[in-house]
C-alpha cells in the first residue's frame, strides 16, 4: 500500500470499517472536507479495480473501469478531487489546501494504475518532506527542511568553528587576554578597597603608609587592563571580520555555482539582505556578545568563589535578590522584544509607503495625489513615532526599576556587612571589597539573560548561510564533458518535457531540428513556453525528459564554457551593469578590440545614440548614472550579444521594445548577422519572422504546428489565425501586407 497521508495513525482500522482488506489497498490518502464543506476526515483508498471514498458514515465505491481523468482542481482556499464517472463529471471529494499534496499524488498514481495497471513510484514526489522526521512537526517552510526545535545547534557551531581553525593562535590570544582583563577587573576593586584600607591605611597593615606603592600598583593595573583589552578587542575584531569574510566568500562562490532554479524560488533582494543580516548577527555575536559573556562568566565565577572564601553568610545574603531580579529581567526582555518587533514592523510599513511614493513620484504627480500620499505617509509615520515613544518610555521606566531591584543586593551587603563590621566580624576593607564584588556579580546578569537570544539568532544565521553553501545546483557540468571548441550549429530538441514547478508542465513533447546556418521562428502567445526553449538550450535549466542536442551532442555532455561561448541570447529582459557603455558591451568578450566594439554597436543600431551621450562609449550607465530608454538598453544588449560572435544566436523578442523604424533597421542588421549562423527568433510580431526558414508554433507548452510560413497558412490552424489577426490589425490602420 502506498500511503500518501502524512498521518499514518489508524489506517488499518479505518480500512477495516470500510470493509476493505489493507492488503488489497494500493493507495491511501485523506481529504478533510465533506460535501457541505464541514471539516471531516475523508478517506481515499484505491484497490486495483475500485476507488473507495469514506466520510466516516458511508462509503462511496467507484469502479475504476468507469472512471476517467481523476485530478485535483484548485480553488482559492480549497481543492476538489474530480473525475469523469460513467461519462459524467463527478465531484469525488473536497479538501483544504493542507491535504492538497497527498491528494494530488493520490490522483496521479490512481491515474497511473488505471492507465498502466501498475504503480511506479517517482521518488521525486517524496523528496519534499513536509514534516520533521524527529518530532513530526511540520517544517515551517517545506523548501527548507529545517525544524527549528530539532536543529542540531552544536554541530552548526562546530562547523562554524572549523572556519576559525586557521586563526587558532589569535583566538587563544584573545581568550587569554579576556581572561586576564577579567581577573584584573577583580583585582582592581580589591586594591582600592580591602587592600587599601586594611594593608595601607591600617597601622597593622603590611604596607602601612606606603601610598606611593599602592597608587602606582593601582595605576599599573589600570594601564594593564586598558592595554590588554585593546589587544583583545583588536584581535577579536580582526579575526571575526576575517571569518565573516571567508564565510561570505564561500556563500558567494556557492551562489555563483547554483542554478537558476535556486534564484527563481527566492527573491534575490531578500536573499542578499538575509545574507548580510545573518553575517552581521554572527559578527556582532563574536565581536560583542561572546567576549562580554566570556569575560563576565570568568568574573562572576571568580568573584563568587572569592566572596565565599571571604565570608559565606554575607555571600549567600548578597544572592537573595538575584532570583527576583532574573525573573524581572526575563519579563522585561520579553516585553521589550515584543515592543522592538512592533516598532520594527511599524517602521517597515512607514518605509514601504515612503519608498512607494518616491518610486512612483511620476504617477503621484500625474494624478495630483500628493496630498493623499502625504496623508498616507503621515499616518504610518505617526504610528511609527508613537511606537518609538512607547519604547523609549518603556526603557526609561523599566530599566531604572530593574536597577533598583538589583540594588537591594548591595543594600543587603551594606546592612548585614555593616552590622558584621560593627561587631568586628569583618574589617571595613572586607565590607568595601564585598560591595564592589556584589556590583561585579550582578552587573552582567542582564546580558546573561539576553545572551540566549543573541546566540539563537547567531546560530540561525549560521544555519541559513550553511544552507546556501550546501545547496547543490540542479544543472551541473558533466564530469568528463565533450570538448567542442568549434561547433557547426545543428540544433535538435528531442521529445522535450520541462516544468518550472512540479506538477505544472511548461513544455511537453517538443521535437524539432534546425540545420546549421538556418533560421527558426518560434511563434506563440505570451506564457506559451517560447523563452523556456531558449533557457533549455543554454542550460539555465535542464529538461525533465527528452534531450537538447547541438551537433548531435547532448548539451548536458558539453562543457559549460563551450556551450555558452557558442550560444548567445538577446532576451526581452535586458540587464545592464553599473559601468560604462564600453564595459557593458565588452562584457561578452573582454578581449574585443575597440573597433570590434564599434562595429557591434553599429550593427545593433546603438552607435548613433551612444555618440549623443556626453562621454560617448565612456558614459556611465546604470544605477545613479545616465538613464537610457528601454530601446536603447535593448540595443546595447544586442551589441553585447553580437560581440560574442556566436554560432547559435537566439533573439528572444529582441526588438520588441523599439519603435517600428528602429526595429526595421536593426532587423536588417540582425538578418545580415544571422547569415551562416543558426538563429532562433522568438517573436510576437509575425513580420519579424518573415525570413525564417521554418516556423514552429508553441501553444500551452505543446508544439501543435510546424512548417514554413506557406505550409502553416495552408494548415489554417493557430498560426493562420494569428496571421489573420495581425493582418486585419494592419488593414485597420490602412497598411496592406
Amino acid at each position: 500500500m502506498l500511503e500518501l497521508s502524512q498521518r499514518t495513525d489508524g489506517a488499518g482500522e479505518i480500512l477495516h470499517k470500510m470493509k476493505v482488506s489493507p492488503e488489497d489497498v494500493l493507495l491511501f490518502a485523506r481529504a478533510d472536507l465533506n460535501a457541505h464543506y464541514d471539516e471531516r476526515e475523508i478517506v481515499l483508498a484505491a484497490t486495483k479495480d475500485t476507488l473507495l471514498i469514506s466520510d466516516g458514515d458511508r462509503v462511496q465505491t467507484y469502479a475504476l473501469k468507469d472512471l476517467q481523468n481523476p485530478a485535483i482542481e484548485e480553488k482559492i482556499g480549497t481543492c476538489v478531487f474530480i473525475g469523469e464517472y460513467q461519462g459524467k463529471r463527478k465531484l469525488l471529494a473536497t479538501l483544504t489546501n493542507s491535504r492538497k499534496q497527498e491528494c494530488r499524488l493520490f490522483a496521479k498514481y490512481l491515474k497511473m494504475q488505471m492507465d498502466t495497471g501498475e504503480i511506479t513510484v517517482d521518488e521525486q514526489d517524496f523528496l519534499q518532506e513536509q514534516f520533521c522526521p524527529k518530532c513530526h512537526r511540520r517544517y515551517p517552510d517545506p523548501n527548507r527542511k529545517v525544524c527549528p526545535d530539532c536543529m542540531d545547534k552544536a554541530s552548526i557551531v562546530g562547523r562554524f568553528l572549523t572556519l576559525a581553525k586557521k586563526f587558532k593562535g589569535q583566538i587563544l590570544l584573545a581568550l587569554l587576554a579576556m581572561a586576564i582583563t577579567s581577573i584584573l577587573g577583580i583585582v582592581s576593586p580589591y586594591l582600592s578597597t580591602s587592600f587599601f584600607y586594611d594593608q595601607v591605611l591600617d597601622i597593622r597593615g603590611k604596607f602601612y603608609g606606603d601610598l606611593l606603592f599602592v597608587v602606582t600598583l593601582m595605576l599599573a593595573t589600570q594601564i594593564a587592563t586598558i592595554l590588554i583589552t585593546m589587544v583583545s578587542d583588536i584581535v577579536t575584531a580582526k579575526v571575526s571580520a576575517r571569518i565573516i569574510y571567508d564565510l561570505k566568500r564561500t556563500i558567494f562562490d556557492s551562489i555563483r555555482r547554483l542554478s537558476m532554479r535556486f534564484f527563481t524560488g527566492r527573491q534575490t533582494g531578500g536573499l542578499m539582505t538575509q545574507i548580510n543580516r545573518d553575517s552581521n548577527a554572527i559578527y556582532w555575536f563574536f565581536v560583542n556578545g561572546f567576549p562580554v559573556f566570556f569575560s563576565s562568566l570568568i568574573q562572576v565565577v571568580t568573584v563568587f568563589i572569592l566572596m565565599l572564601t571571604i565570608d559565606v553568610p554575607l555571600a549567600i545574603a548578597s544572592l537573595i535578590p538575584l532570583p527576583f531580579y532574573l525573573y524581572a529581567v526575563t519579563r522585561v526582555l520579553k516585553q521589550q522584544r515584543w515592543m522592538n518587533a512592533r516598532s520594527y514592523a511599524r517602521n517597515r510599513s512607514m518605509n514601504s509607503v515612503l519608498s512607494d511614493s518616491l518610486n512612483g513620484v511620476r504617477v503621484v504627480k500625474a494624478f495630483a495625489r500628493e496630498k493623499e500620499e502625504t496623508g498616507r505617509f503621515n499616518y504610518y509615520s505617526t504610528q511609527a513615532a508613537e511606537m518609538t515613544r512607547k519604547l523609549t518610555y518603556f526603557h526609561n521606566t523599566r530599566h531604572p526599576s530593574l536597577n533598583l531591584l538589583i540594588y537591594f543586593s548591595t543594600l543587603l551587603v551594606w546592612g548585614v556587612g555593616g552590622w558584621m563590621a560593627m561587631k568586628g566580624q569583618i574589617t571595613y576593607g572586607t565590607l568595601m571589597v564585598f560591595i564592589s564584588y556584589v556590583g561585579i556579580l550582578n552587573g552582567p546578569m542582564f546580558s546573561f539573560v539576553n545572551m540566549s537570544d543573541n546566540f539563537t539568532r547567531c546560530v540561525n544565521g549560521m544555519q541559513r548561510l550553511f544552507e546556501i553553501a550546501d545547496a547543490s545546483p540542479d544543472v551541473v557540468e558533466a564530469e568528463h564533458p565533450v570538448s567542442m571548441p568549434e561547433i557547426r550549429g545543428d540544433v535538435e530538441f528531442r521529445d522535450v518535457e520541462f516544468s518550472y514547478e512540479k506538477g505544472r508542465k511548461t513544455l511537453e513533447g517538443i521535437s524539432f531540428k534546425i540545420s546549421a546556418g538556418h533560421r527558426l521562428g518560434i511563434v506563440g502567445h505570451s506564457g506559451a513556453g517560447k523563452s523556456t526553449l531558449a533557457n533549455l538550450l543554454i542550460r539555465l535549466y535542464d529538461v525533465d525528459s527528452g534531450g537538447v542536442y547541438i551537433d548531435g551532442v547532448n548539451v548536458k555532455d558539453m562543457a559549460f564554457e563551450d556551450l555558452r561561448r557558442s550560444v548567445s541570447i538577446v532576451s526581452q529582459e535586458t540587464y545592464l551593469f553599473a559601468g560604462t557603455v564600453l564595459e557593458n558591451i565588452a562584457y561578452a568578450n573582454p578581449d574585443a578590440s575597440k573597433e570590434e566594439i564599434l562595429h557591434a554597436a553599429r550593427i545593433a543600431g546603438a552607435h548613433d545614440f551612444i555618440m549623443r551621450l556626453p562621454n560617448g562609449y565612456h558614459t556611465k550607465i546604470g544605477f545613479g548614472h545616465q538613464d537610457l530608454s528601454g530601446g536603447e538598453r535593448q540595443r546595447i544588449s544586442i551589441a553585447r550579444a553580437i560581440l560574442k560572435d556566436p554560432k547559435i544566436l537566439i533573439l528572444d523578442e529582441a526588438t520588441a521594445a523599439m519603435d517600428t523604424a528602429t526595429e526595421r533597421t536593426i532587423q536588417e542588421a540582425l538578418e545580415r548577422l544571422s547569415e551562416n549562423r543558426t538563429t532562433i527568433m522568438i517573436a510576437h510580431r509575425l513580420s519579424t519572422l518573415r525570413n525564417a526558414d521554418s516556423l514552429i508554433v508553441i501553444e500551452k507548452g505543446k508544439m501543435p504546428e510546424t512548417g514554413t510560413h506557406v505550409e502553416l497558412l495552408k494548415q489554417k490552424g493557430i498560426y493562420y489565425r494569428l496571421y489573420q489577426l495581425q493582418l486585419s490589425a494592419l488593414k485597420n490602420i490602412g497598411v496592406e501586407e
Partner: protein, 173 residues
C-alpha cells in the same frame, strides 16, 4: 451626473454581457454549477468575484472551464431565487475561509509564525510565512490570513477578538 456620463462613455466602448434572470439561469449539479443562457447550455461554469474583499455578491465573473468569460453578474439579486442560491453555494465553495474566533498563541520562530487558534470548526494550528505579506487587511478591522499551504483564515473583526487574542495579533497589524 458627471460620473454617470463617464460610466456610460466607458461602457459604450466595451462589450459586456450582463447576466440576469432574464437571460441566464444557474443550477447546482452535484457540486458543479451549470448555466443555461438562451439556447446555450453550459455543463459547468466557474464564478469569480471581481472584488472579493468588499463585494461578495456583486460583480461576479462567469467563465467556462477554460476561463473564458461568458458574462458578468452585476448583482446576485438580479438572478432568480434558485440561481442566486446556486451561485452563493458555488462562491462559498470557491472562497472557503475559516473564521478565527480567538487566538491562543502566535509563536514566532525563524521568520515563520506558528498560530494556535480557535475557529468556528474547532482548534487549528497553522504556520504563516512572512506575516507582512500573508496578512491582508480588507479593512483595518477585517483581516485575511494565508497559511503556508494556501488555506485562508478570516478575522471578521479584530476589535471583537478577546483581549488576549488581540495582544497576540497586535504585533502583526
Amino acid at each position: 451626473m458627471e460620473e454617470k456620463q463617464k460610466k456610460d462613455g466607458l461602457s459604450g466602448i466595451v462589450d459586456v454581457t450582463w447576466l440576469t434572470k432574464d437571460n441566464a439561469s444557474f443550477c447546482d449539479d452535484e457540486g458543479f454549477l451549470s448555466m443555461d443562457m438562451g439556447e446555450e447550455h453550459y455543463d459547468r461554469v466557474l464564478l469569480s468575484r471581481c472584488f472579493p474583499f468588499d463585494e461578495p455578491e456583486t460583480h461576479i465573473s462567469v467563465t467556462d472551464c477554460e476561463m473564458k468569460e461568458i458574462g458578468l453578474i452585476r448583482d446576485l439579486q438580479e438572478l432568480s431565487e434558485e440561481s442566486r442560491e446556486a451561485c452563493r453555494t458555488e462562491l462559498s465553495r470557491k472562497y472557503f475561509t475559516r473564521e478565527i474566533l480567538s487566538i491562543e498563541k502566535i509563536k514566532e520562530r525563524y521568520g515563520f509564525t506558528h498560530w494556535d487558534v480557535t475557529t468556528a470548526s474547532g482548534k487549528k494550528s497553522f504556520s504563516v510565512q512572512d506575516t507582512y505579506r500573508s496578512i491582508t487587511k480588507i479593512t483595518p478591522d477585517h483581516l485575511l490570513v494565508y497559511d503556508v499551504d494556501g488555506n485562508v483564515y478570516e478575522i471578521m473583526s479584530v476589535d471583537a477578538l478577546p483581549r488576549k487574542s488581540y495582544r497576540h495579533l497586535e504585533l502583526y497589524l
